[in-house]
């Protein structure tokens, strides 16, 4: 924005008179509860994560990262990022205008103040839009975590007494097999002259490799379980913690919307103030005679 763009002739003040009321109206509109407006008009960007089996099976330490990454690449994530960048640029513009106002005088200062107000209104609108998108993100994330918690709960609930009994039996069988495997091997291979079977040979070779890999996985920093105060968290506990975190973010967002509301109200009040100053200046410059006073006119009646 060049300086010449900001220069207005005194005649254009009239236009200012039209512009300012609209600015005030816009400011007051923004000061209204911020929940409904921006997104309703056009199709708003979205993020549709799925609480899939694969997502639920991911290690807890990687779960949040993968969800955040999915969001960052979504339409909604990109929209929030773009709005943040615009808001940052707007802050730079506001800073530049504020510095210019401090140096300017007279009409130019008035015009700059008008521009400053318009930019502030734009800034408030941008933040309002961003908050709408953030709210949408948080609500979606909360629903996702809750769906995942429900699915984990369903899996647990599917454990009927009969199934539990079967698993207990299978565990018993596995334990018995494990404790007797050496004895069985000795008995079978001592009593027969045939060599070890192909399956047994390959199995033990693969098992050695698997054990090495499992040991590496267990010591890998990305597979370590999430801990709070030194206590490892289960996946359900971790998800509940994430839901609580989202709820905290929603509360903070609501507080920020209150701040934004106050900012919008200040923009409206500043616009009123500027409008009044412009109107006063218009009156001072006017060629029209002042309202005739009755006292002065009285002379016309008494002198004759």
């Amino acid at each position: 924005m060049s300086k010449s763009d900001l220069l207005y002739t005194s005649r254009e003040r009239v236009r200012l008179g039209f512009v300012l009321p609209s600015l005030i109206a816009a400011g007051l509109l923004v000061a209204q509860p911020l929940a409904a407006p921006a997104a309703a008009a056009t199709k708003s960007p979205s993020w549709n994560p799925k609480a899939s089996e694969k997502l639920i099976k991911l290690p807890a330490s990687y779960l949040k990262k993968s969800i955040d990454h999915d969001f960052a690449e979504s339409e909604l994530g990109l929209a929030i990022q773009s709005t943040s960048e615009k808001a940052d640029l707007k802050i730079d513009t506001l800073r530049d205008l504020q510095e210019s106002i401090e140096r300017a005088e007279g009409e130019l200062a008035m015009e700059l103040r008008h521009q400053f107000l318009a930019e502030k209104r734009e800034f408030v609108n941008l933040l309002s839009d961003k908050n709408e998108l953030r709210r949408k993100h948080l609500k979606t994330k909360q629903r996702l975590y809750e769906r995942m918690l429900r699915k984990l709960g369903d899996e647990k609930a599917a454990m009927t007494p009969v199934r539990q009994k079967l698993i207990d039996k299978q565990d018993e069988a596995a334990a018995r097999f494990k404790s007797s495997i050496d004895k069985v091997d000795m008995h079978i291979f001592q009593s027969t002259s045939a060599p070890t079977s192909k399956y047994a040979k390959k199995y033990s070779e693969n098992m050695a490799v698997i054990e090495k890999l499992v040991a590496r996985i267990q010591s890998h920093k990305m597979s370590l379980s999430i801990q709070v105060d030194g206590q490892p968290l289960t996946k359900q506990e971790y998800l509940r913690q994430l839901v609580a975190g989202v709820q905290a973010e929603v509360s903070i967002l609501e507080q920020e919307e209150t701040i934004l509301g106050y900012m919008a109200k200040l923009v409206a009040l500043d616009a009123l103030d500027l409008s009044e100053q412009a109107f006063d200046a218009d009156l001072a410059d006017s060629d029209q005679p002042a309202e005739p006073s009755l006292a002065r006119a009285a002379n016309f009646f008494v002198s004759n």
Binding site: L166, I167, K169, A173, F177, V184, A200
Partner: protein
């Protein structure tokens, strides 16, 4: 630029992890380890009870079965897909370790497969020898 390459890296890592989760989730033999064991066990039992073959033939055949049964039983005991699979076959299989995993059970007890199996059914040499022949 940097964030682009980071994104690609993350996407690659995520895809690899998803594949790993999928592969580990799908581990286990598709053909049905329990069904294979049941088939082999049925053949072994049939051989045990076959009146047509001579004792030394039966012994040789059962030795061959034993080696195959050991492998098949281990496949079932190590099959993660069977864990918690609440079907009548699986429930029945794990109901009695000594009958299902007859080769392992016999080796544990230092007895032959046939002796162990018959013992599980309550048929010992002693009980058979002490039985008397009667007309019904």
């Amino acid at each position: 630029m940097k964030s682009n390459s980071m994104n690609k890296l993350f996407t690659g890592a995520f895809a690899a992890l998803i594949i790993a989760v999928g592969v580990l989730g799908a581990s286990g033999v598709e053909a049905g380890t329990l069904e294979n064991l049941e088939r082999e066990r049925a053949m072994a039992v049939k051989t045990m009870l076959d009146p047509e073959i001579r004792p030394h033939e039966r012994h040789a055949k059962l030795n061959t079965f034993k080696r195959r049964l050991v492998d098949l039983e281990r496949m079932v005991l190590r099959d993660k897909k069977l864990r918690g699979r609440n079907t009548p076959n699986v429930r029945k299989a794990f109901e009695n370790y000594d009958l299902t995993f007859m080769a392992h059970s016999a080796a544990e007890k230092n007895t032959g497969i046939m002796d162990n199996w018959l013992a599980q059914l309550g048929l010992t040499t002693q009980s058979i020898m002490s039985a008397s022949i009667r007309r019904r």
